[in-house]
Symmetry: C4
Subunit: 210 residues, 4 copies
């Protein structure tokens, strides 16, 4: 983001980006990067996308975290038993809070857990319940993720959609690693941590400023 | 802190990005960010806030850590059995050193630990003892954090205030993750680590400077 | 890459620090750094080199990961039983995906795993199969890494080359640590994480830009 | 280090550093920071100090790690049984390689390990052997670190100096955490990792530069 503001003095110039002709005159606005991780199984795919926290500026100029980040889980079923073709039109989503990520990380090889959601759409009146069940696979090679979505339109029967994915121990290890990595960021602790510098927290600054 | 300096040379220019009217042009002083993590339970809330280390400048211009950072624990009881309403007027605090954070991290599912503090207020003569007991919950779904604060005014009976929080295994997993993350920062190791760059530690610089 | 631009505006000034005569003024192009980790054993050496992900620029100026990074494993046998002399002419390579790194990380002390590869060279018609077997050592002091490479020229017998390395538990602990460290980078999550800053994700920016 | 070079344009000004009058005109030379971690016991103190790797500049301008960093262990005995007074004149040192740090990290609660060193001083002819033994404490509350240093002057008897420290499980957890943190830095992997940016590794740059 630094470079941006220095560039500002060039505001009258056209800044075509991209394409980047040679040496990219980097992002005008703070750079945005999208990263995720997909677990591909014969039954479907699970894509995990971290979502950033929000910060609030205080009157003092300091910032504090106003909303924790979270992990968006997107499930899509496979529509072929032969080869993995995933139907994103049937996708279902489920968001995990940082604490729920902690639940997943601390799940032992033989442990199970259920995550619940319940929402109601004020306009349509449709009630939606979601249950994400994480259970050990029978052959203990990992855990199954099964997501059930129940929709109940007003005066109608409840409809259930279900997605089932067998996730290997290896993929769970990757999840554990990237969850461990990203959790402090989703809590904004990295923003605090990045202020820990000798030139900020030393005797001289302390006497002057704290 | 750097950006500031760029801004300054451009001060006469219009700065259309971003229009932050409320708070001062960011970081005239080095940016401050407040981050914490709260464990909400039916009995009360526990808020953890990391506190930075302090550095000293040496005559050589190098810095060293003069005081380790720590983790501030703030406990507040719930004043309703129906819904979680927390009374921060009854809050109690307890600070964990990095080594004590290590104790918490390494606590097995069936392990217990007690942390002690004892201080005396020179003026009022009130002696304060604190005991933070961390024990496995009976149903093994996590650990309880119970904080007892004993205050003994001169020539009076000791008064005890007690706070009890059941903390789930999931929350302990989050604590383990963010403690692991923040401990090197509280020790200032990140400040050392951030100097490990090819342009600093290479053959050329070594012969010239070490 | 930023420093460059500052340097340029000052190009006419003397730049007494540091005097790096041999190599070009650092990072005209973005800096490249090569890092690896070698496991030395009496039977041979295993060198692990992380390979970066690739990013794609979107029309919006945002970036997304277009190809995950991976870990290149290079095996070379020892050609002496007396002292460790490694013959890199006989080297064999094997690349681990992030998920396969997860497999290695989550391997218990008594667990085994096999990784497979199969490729065919269109021109020469040579089929190459590779099997990397990771198994507990008999004395449980670590795991063996044995790599078998099968090459089958057209109309000829298959040739097998085999490399065997006993890797200690200590080295596996280092691998676990550096894999854990590097996996989020190979997935590009660090690039996302580095955008999590108060000045990017706050109320003011949100209303203006999201 | 960046700020420095921008400051360069002020080269004609005196740059008194330190003392830092208000807002430190940061390091003329790349900043140096010293960080360590001390384990205090009734028998003595163990101070751990990470030592950086060295990089080599290649003809291409890229850097590679030429020497791994390591962990310096300094032991000093307590000279009082009443209170902890440490005698640094009797200190002994022992350096752990990254692989040996892996050994310590992976040591189970009931495991032991011995680290060896042997050097000879060419001038004095004194042979020095060192053995660092790490063993579970009898009450399983941690591990003991005992360092034996054997010095053998030419034609004389070997002299043994011994230091013994009981290190708690909590301190071992801190060591595990900071070792895990610092190992990738000591191997220079952070320098590689810090180059993983969308603006470096993308389609455009790849076609132009790889």
């Amino acid at each position: 983001s630094f470079r941006v503001k220095c560039y500002r003095s060039n505001l009258d110039e056209p800044k075509p980006f991209p394409p980047l002709p040679q040496h990219p005159p980097v992002a005008e606005l703070p750079q945005r990067v999208y990263a995720d991780y997909s677990v591909y199984t014969r039954m479907g795919v699970l894509t995990l996308t971290p979502k950033p926290p929000q910060f609030d500026a205080k009157a003092s100029g300091a910032f504090s975290v106003s909303r924790e980040g979270y992990m968006l889980l997107q499930f899509a079923p496979s529509i072929s038993t032969e080869e993995p073709i995933y139907d994103w039109n049937q996708k279902q989503v489920f968001s995990l809070s940082v604490t729920e990520m902690g639940t997943l990380i601390s799940l032992g090889a033989m442990d199970s857990w259920e995550f619940f959601r319940k929402t109601a759409n004020a306009k349509s009146g449709i009630e939606v319940r979601k249950v994400l069940k994480v259970e050990p696979l029978l052959d203990i090679t990992g855990h199954s993720f099964s997501l059930s979505v129940y929709k109940k339109p007003v005066d109608k029967e409840e409809i259930e959609e279900r997605l089932y994915l067998p996730v290997t121990r290896a993929d769970l290890a990757v999840l554990r690693s990237i969850f461990n990595y990203i959790m402090p960021y989703l809590l904004g602790w990295n923003a605090f941590a990045s202020t820990i510098k000798p030139e900020v927290y030393n005797q001289v600054n302390r006497t002057n400023r704290l």
